[in-house]
C-alpha cells in the first residue's frame, strides 16, 4: 500500500492510498463535522456538512471529504470562507428540517447560528435523512428492514409498504442498530417492528446492565480478551456485519473459529467448579422478580461496585436512592423446603451490605436474621461495628415481602412482614429495597461433572470429600481433588486455603512419581474368563476391559483404576473375577465357620 502526502489546514499529513480526506484528517487530529458518516458504513456523501475546499494549482473546488480520496500533493482547507459560509447555510437548512434535533442544535451553537431563516414544515420532526439507519440495516445487519421511500422532500425512512398494504413485512430482528446509530434519536423501534428488542443481559452484571454480542466478560477477566456470543451475534444471524473484525487493529477476530477438542493426559484433576446462586423466585412470597426492588445479594454487589452499572450508587429501579433497605438472611438455606444447610457466607456479606447501604445511600437498614454467624477473623468485631452504626437487627424469619399497604406510611414501599422473636410478635417494616441473601447451592451440572470424573455428591448436592474432617480436599477417586464452593459453601479465606491445599496435594502426588495401588483389588483368571464383558459393564471405575489376547477375548483389570468394590466379582458368570483378600472361597469359608459354630 503506497502512501500519499497532502496538506490539510496547513499541516502535512501522510495517509495510505485509498483513504478519504476525512479519514486522513481525523488521523491527524483535525476534526471535520459529519452527520451521515460512520466508520462502520460505506461513505454516503448525503449531508454535505463535511464539505472542504481543495486546491490544485490555482483552481479550487468544494468537495465532500468523506468521499473524496486523499491525493498526493492535495491542499485542503477545512475552514475556508466558502466552506464556513456553505456549512452555516446547510446547518440552517437542517435546523429548519429538524429544529428539535439536539445534534443539529449543537452544530448550530458551534457555528454561531441562533435561528434559521427558513420555513419549518414539521416542528416535531427529528429525522435529517442521513440514511445511517437504512445503511446499517442493509450493509451490516443484512436484513434491510427499513429503507428510503419517496423522492425529494417526500423522502422518508420506512418499512416496506408500511401502512399501505395489509401484509406483515416484519423482517426486522429488533437488534436496535438503527436506533443507536441515529444521530438525532428520530428512529423509534416501535414504528418499525412489532418485536420487542431484548437487550442482552450481562451475566456478570447480574442482568442489571446489558452487553454487546462481543464483549469482555468483566474487567479482571482472565484472559482479559473479548469473547463472541454466537447466539446473539448479527453476523451469525444474517451473514453480514463483521464490523468488529474490521475495526480490530490486531486482527484478533476470527469468525471461522470452531470449538477444539483437546486431549491432554494428566495425572491429577482439581475440580473447582464453584456454586450457583439459589433462585429466590421459587419462594413467591419474597417477591423476587415480581417487585422491581427485591434483589439478591449479588445484584447489590454490582450496584455497590464503583465499576458497576450504577457506578457505585445504590439505586432503585426508577433511579432514586433508597431511604430504607431490608436484608433478609437465609433465603433458601436453613430451610427444610429448599436447602437444610447453612450457606456460611451470607451473614457476613449481609453485614457488609448493611454497612454499605448506610455509607453509600444513607439509608435506614433493617437486618432480618436467624443467627449471626461471625466465625472468622474480625467478623464479630465488624458485627459490633455495624450495630453501633445503627443497623437495626431483627431476629426472625421473614414471612413475606408485599406491596399491599395498610397504613399511609407503607404506601409506595415494600413491606417486610416478619416475626420478631425477641419482641415475640409479628412486625411490618416498610422499606424501599429488599436484599435477599440467597443460598449457595451446587451447580446445576454437578451431576454431569460427578459422573464424568467418577466422584460422588453428598445429599446436599455438593461433591463428596474423602473424609469430612481429615481429608476435605480429596475425593474417594484417586487423583481427583475438589476445592472451593463446589465442595461446600465457603468464603474467600477458606477457598484460598483450600485451593492451596489441593495444589499441594496434587503436586505431592505428581512429585512422588508412583501411585500406591489398593491391595484388595480385582483379578481375573484368564483361563476361565470368556470375555462376556459383564464386569466391564458394571464397573463404575472403568477398570475391566475386554480385549483380544492371543486370539481369545478376555477381560483384564486396570489396577490403577480398580478400587476393589467387588461388583465385578458378583456378576461374573464363570467366577473368573475375584477380589484379592476377599475371594469367594474366603468369604464362603467365613460363612461356613460362622454357621457351624453354635
Amino acid at each position: 500500500m503506497s502512501e500519499v502526502t497532502l496538506e490539510i489546514d496547513g499541516k502535512k499529513v501522510t495517509a495510505e492510498e485509498g483513504t478519504t480526506i476525512l479519514e486522513a484528517a481525523r488521523c491527524a487530529g483535525i476534526e471535520i463535522p459529519t452527520l451521515c458518516y460512520h466508520r462502520a458504513l460505506s461513505p454516503y456523501g448525503g449531508c454535505r456538512i463535511c464539505t472542504v475546499e481543495i486546491f490544485r494549482g490555482r483552481r479550487s473546488r468544494l468537495v465532500t471529504s468523506c468521499v473524496y480520496p486523499a491525493e498526493d500533493g492535495l491542499v485542503v482547507n477545512t475552514k475556508s470562507d466558502n466552506v464556513i459560509r456553505d456549512r452555516k447555510v446547510l446547518i440552517e437548512l437542517m435546523l429548519a428540517k429538524a429544529p428539535k434535533a439536539k445534534a443539529i442544535q449543537d452544530l448550530a451553537r458551534e457555528y454561531g447560528i441562533k435561528e434559521t431563516r427558513f420555513k419549518t414544515e414539521d416542528p416535531d420532526n427529528l429525522c435529517i435523512l442521513c440514511g445511517m439507519c437504512a445503511r446499517v440495516c442493509e450493509e451490516r445487519v443484512g436484513v434491510s428492514a427499513i429503507n428510503f421511500v419517496g423522492r425529494g422532500v417526500e423522502r422518508d425512512v420506512k418499512t416496506p409498504y408500511q401502512g399501505t398494504v395489509d401484509i406483515d413485512f416484519d423482517v426486522c430482528i429488533a437488534c436496535g442498530s438503527c436506533a443507536s446509530i441515529c444521530p438525532t434519536g428520530a428512529i423509534k423501534l416501535e414504528d418499525i417492528t412489532a418485536k420487542k428488542p431484548a437487550p442482552i443481559l450481562s451475566e456478570f452484571e447480574m442482568g442489571l446492565d446489558s452487553r454487546a454480542p462481543i464483549y469482555i466478560p468483566f474487567p479482571q477477566a482472565i484472559p482479559n480478551v473479548a469473547t463472541l456470543d454466537r447466539s446473539q451475534c448479527v453476523h451469525f444471524a444474517t451473514g453480514k456485519c463483521r464490523i468488529c473484525e474490521e475495526i480490530c487493529g490486531a486482527d484478533a477476530i476470527n469468525f471461522e473459529q470452531e470449538d477444539e477438542v483437546i486431549e491432554i493426559e494428566v495425572g491429577t484433576i482439581i475440580v473447582a467448579t464453584g456454586y450457583d446462586q439459589f433462585d429466590p423466585s421459587v419462594i413467591p412470597q419474597y417477591g423476587y422478580r415480581r417487585y422491581d426492588n427485591v434483589i439478591t445479594g449479588l445484584e447489590f454487589e454490582r450496584l455497590s461496585c464503583a465499576a458497576g452499572p450504577t457506578e457505585g450508587k445504590i439505586l432503585l429501579k426508577d433511579g432514586r436512592q433508597p431511604e430504607s433497605v431490608a436484608l433478609v438472611h437465609c433465603v433458601g438455606s436453613r430451610d427444610q423446603n429448599y436447602h437444610e444447610y447453612c450457606s456460611r457466607v451470607c451473614c457476613m456479606y449481609a453485614l457488609k451490605y448493611a454497612h454499605l447501604a448506610k455509607e453509600l445511600a444513607g439509608a435506614d437498614v433493617y437486618q432480618f436474621y436467624i443467627d449471626m454467624r461471625c466465625f472468622g477473623e474480625g467478623y464479630e468485631e465488624f458485627y459490633k461495628r455495624c450495630s453501633e452504626e445503627g443497623v437495626n437487627f431483627i431476629r426472625g424469619k421473614v414471612a413475606k415481602v408485599t406491596d399491599e399497604a395498610i397504613t399511609d406510611e407503607e404506601k409506595g414501599k415494600l413491606i417486610v412482614v416478619s416475626e420478631d422473636t425477641l419482641l415475640g410478635k409479628m412486625v411490618r417494616v416498610p422499606v424501599d429495597m429488599v436484599v435477599l441473601c440467597s443460598a449457595l447451592e451446587a451447580r446445576s451440572d454437578a451431576e454431569d461433572v460427578a459422573k464424568l470424573l467418577t466422584i460422588n455428591r453428598r445429599a446436599d448436592g455438593f461433591f463428596l470429600e474423602r473424609h469430612v474432617k481429615l481429608d476435605p480436599v480429596a475425593t474417594p477417586t484417586d487423583g481427583v481433588f475438589i476445592a472451593g464452593c463446589c465442595e461446600a459453601p465457603r468464603d474467600i479465606p477458606d477457598t484460598v486455603a483450600q485451593a492451596e491445599a489441593t495444589a499441594g496435594k496434587a503436586l505431592s502426588l505428581i512429585s512422588k512419581g508412583t501411585v500406591t495401588l489398593e491391595a484388595a483389588i480385582s483379578t481375573i483368571d484368564e483361563s476361565i474368563c470368556h470375555g462376556c464383558g459383564r464386569c466391564e459393564e458394571i464397573c463404575t471405575f472403568s477398570a475391566p476391559k475386554v480385549a483380544d489376547k492371543d486370539g481369545k477375548l478376555v477381560s483384564s483389570i486396570n489396577e490403577a483404576l480398580c478400587k476393589g468394590c467387588g461388583s465385578c466379582a458378583v456378576v461374573c458368570p464363570t467366577g473368573a473375577v475375584s477380589i484379592r483378600h476377599f475371594t469367594q472361597d474366603e468369604i464362603l469359608a467365613q460363612v461356613s465357620a460362622l454357621t457351624e459354630a453354635k
Binding site: I455, N456, A459, S567, A569, F582, V591, L594, K598
Partner: protein, 142 residues
Amino acid sequence: MAEFEPQIIAFCCNWCTYAAADLAGTSRVQYPANVRIVRVMCSGMVNPIYVLKAFEGGTDGVLIAGCHLSDCHYIDGPTKCDEAVEKMRKTLHVLGLEDGRLRREMVAASEGVFFAKVIREMVEELKKLGPSPFKTKMEAPA
C-alpha cells in the same frame, strides 16, 4: 425347651456399617449377641451365593448392610446391592424362605445406635418366625 435364639449372619460394608458396629461397641450400646459379622469392602460385594451358603448352613436370618446412597466409597455400591437383593428375594421365596429372614439396611458409620436397633428388631422378628426351615435335617427313611 430353651428359647429359640435365632442366628443372624450380617454382611457389613467396611466403611460404614462395620464402623457403626464398632461404634456401637465402643459406645457400650447393648445389642443381642445373635449376630455374626462378615466384613466385606462394599455392600455391592455381597454375592447371592454367600447368602445362600449362609442359609444352607442353617442361619435363621441374613442382614446385608452398607452405606447410604450418597456416602458410598465406591459411588454406587448400594444401588448394585439393592438390585442384587431384589433378585435374591425371588430365589429365596422359591426356596420357601420368608421375606423377613433377609433384611437390607443402610447404616452410616456414625449410626451405632441405629445398628444396634436393627439387630434387636431382627432378632425379635426372627424369634417370631422361628428357626429356618433349612435347619431341620432330612431324615433318611428307616
